[in-house]
Amino acid sequence: MRFDEVRAGAASIAPMLVGVVPFGLVAGATPAANGFGVWAAVGLSSIVFAGASQLATVDILANGGSGVVAALAACTINLRMLLYSASLAPLLAGEPLRRRLGAAYLLTDQAYAVSITRWTTEGDRPEGRIPFYVSGGLLLWAVWQASTVVGALIGSAVPDDLPLDFAVPLVFLVLLVPAITSRPAAAAALAGGAAAVAAAATGAGPLSVMVGAVAGVIAGATTEAVAEGRRPDPTGPAL
């Protein structure tokens, strides 16, 4: 076992738990408050394991929507997982299928963000990737399951004047800043952020992350292609 990678994975996820616990309490309390019982909360958290889509599923079912509609809404919200999966795939291509499927189950915004950051900007060792990813992913998984059970049993008892939900954008902000390494990356971030805000304004809700991500990818790739096209000699000095 590579304990340094295991420790690093857990340490990277740990600050995210400040925002995950209150969200998990809400994700557990909401199905219970809508009369679906504790087992629905546990089932959603263990089978779907994606907060915003769990809330959307409950919301649609509670308002009389069909199971198929609720499942479609949940999958739409989680479309961004396609991008995360594509982004991580080349980095985990050397692992056996069983491990890649296990990693897929643990894939979340948080696990993706800390892993891609470590594997592209910090000291990366291919043999340490799975220990890092799994320890962080499992820690997040365990805390999510525990907090949804607690939320389902006793309700979400987070005081309103303590804005712990703000911890969620803050930890992603810490990862966003070093990800802006170039002009195309800055374009991707600017376009992505703007498109996500615009999508949210039109009522896209949690789907706005996916809309923003796609817009950002297009903007970043275009900026990169234009910059390369301008360069007369590809072997010459890059400006």
Binding site: P15, S53, T57, A70, A71, A74, C75, N78, M81, L83, Y84, S85, A86, L88, A89, P90, A93, L97, R100, L101, A103, A104, D109, Y112, A113, I116, T120, D161, P163, L164, F166, P169, L170, V171, F172, L173, V174, L175, V177, P178, I180, P184, A185, A188, G192, A195, A196, A200, A201, S208, V209, M210, G212, A213, G216, V217, G220, A221, E224, A225
Partner: protein, 98 residues
């Protein structure tokens, strides 16, 4: 039923490229160019609405954007998650109390 369907669909999307990864070991340059943009694009898409549309309304002069910009400065200078969280949450609590 809804839970099983939602879970199966979500897992399928999570597994999609990861499951096929062994066949994608050599990523063509144009795909690499697209993949490179995912981290800044996705992270900004998570952060921007939380700072610019807190509670569902767009606003520039509100505590969450101010606290977020301060936290971004701390994140940029220190790259310290704990410190960024403390400054960002502290600033938000202080601004809300004003």
């Amino acid at each position: 039923m809804a839970i099983l369907l939602a879970g199966a669909g979500t897992f399928a999307m999570r597994a999609s490229f990861l499951a096929a990864a062994s066949r994608l070991a050599v990523v063509p340059p144009f795909a690499q160019r697209l993949l490179r943009q995912i981290p800044p694009a996705a992270l900004a898409s998570i952060v921007a609405p939380a700072l610019l549309r807190p509670g569902g309304d767009f606003g520039l002069f509100q505590p969450r954007l101010a606290a977020g910009l301060l936290a971004a400065l701390v994140a940029w200078r220190t790259r310290n998650v704990g410190l960024t969280l403390a400054v960002g949450l502290g600033a938000l609590v202080a601004l809300q109390a004003l």
